[in-house]
Symmetry: C2
Subunit: 126 residues, 2 copies
């Protein structure tokens, strides 16, 4: 399988530490980002709603995740100067577009998780 021109695999950029794929992988590879994006996919949510939707995230960590998402232009943060405060998080268009590739991962995962688990069990026997 020497060449398969056009595929993302032949561009050889993955060896570069600043490679785009690495950048994105570092983002979605963390513990909560994909979950947050998924929850926001159906519409804007408040901080507490996200917290509840996830279950078991320390507020500090959720804040970190959201701030990073905001910094990368994937999420907007809108604070309403009320008392008590209200903050709305919403996916940007860029954030929404991320759903497609993530769905590709999710679909592959669900179709193949059994094979992985089986291989794992078999391997752990021996």
């Amino acid at each position: 399988m020497v060449t398969e021109q056009g595929s993302a695999f032949e561009r050889g950029k993955l060896t570069d530490p600043d490679c785009p794929t690495r950048l994105v992988l570092d983002r979605i590879g963390d513990k909560w980002t994909v979950l947050v994006v998924t929850l926001l996919a159906d519409g804007p949510l408040r901080f507490t709603q996200l917290r509840a939707g996830i279950g078991g995230v320390a507020p500090k960590v959720l804040t970190q995740t959201l701030r990073a998402l905001e910094r990368d232009g994937l999420v907007t943060r809108t604070a309403y100067p009320e008392i008590p405060p209200k903050v709305i998080y919403e996916l940007t268009e860029l954030g929404h577009s991320l759903r497609a590739p993530v769905a590709a991962i999710a679909d592959w995962s669900e179709r193949n998780v059994n094979r992985i688990l089986a291989a794992r069990t078999a391997h752990d026997q021996a």
Copy 2:
């Protein structure tokens, strides 16, 4: 949440710590797995060839990565009892099939990395 039947996003499994997507994300989210899979995509390679192809991996870490891939049935390891030793790593069919979703990530990354970087810079100004 509201329901948008069919999409991988509404299955609500991501909240489950044992969710398939989390499992795969934990795999490909690490530092070297995607790179190894990419290198093996064009054909089998020896340990040293992988090392060279990556550049800067500690042998221990590369071994860990390969063992994990082997355990999950994504890579086969074939040791030839010669002196000096020769070990060939090769993608399984399952391993090859992983290339597609990873390519989806890679494509999205390359198309949008500029937007992310721009958002990042803009955000860091303010």
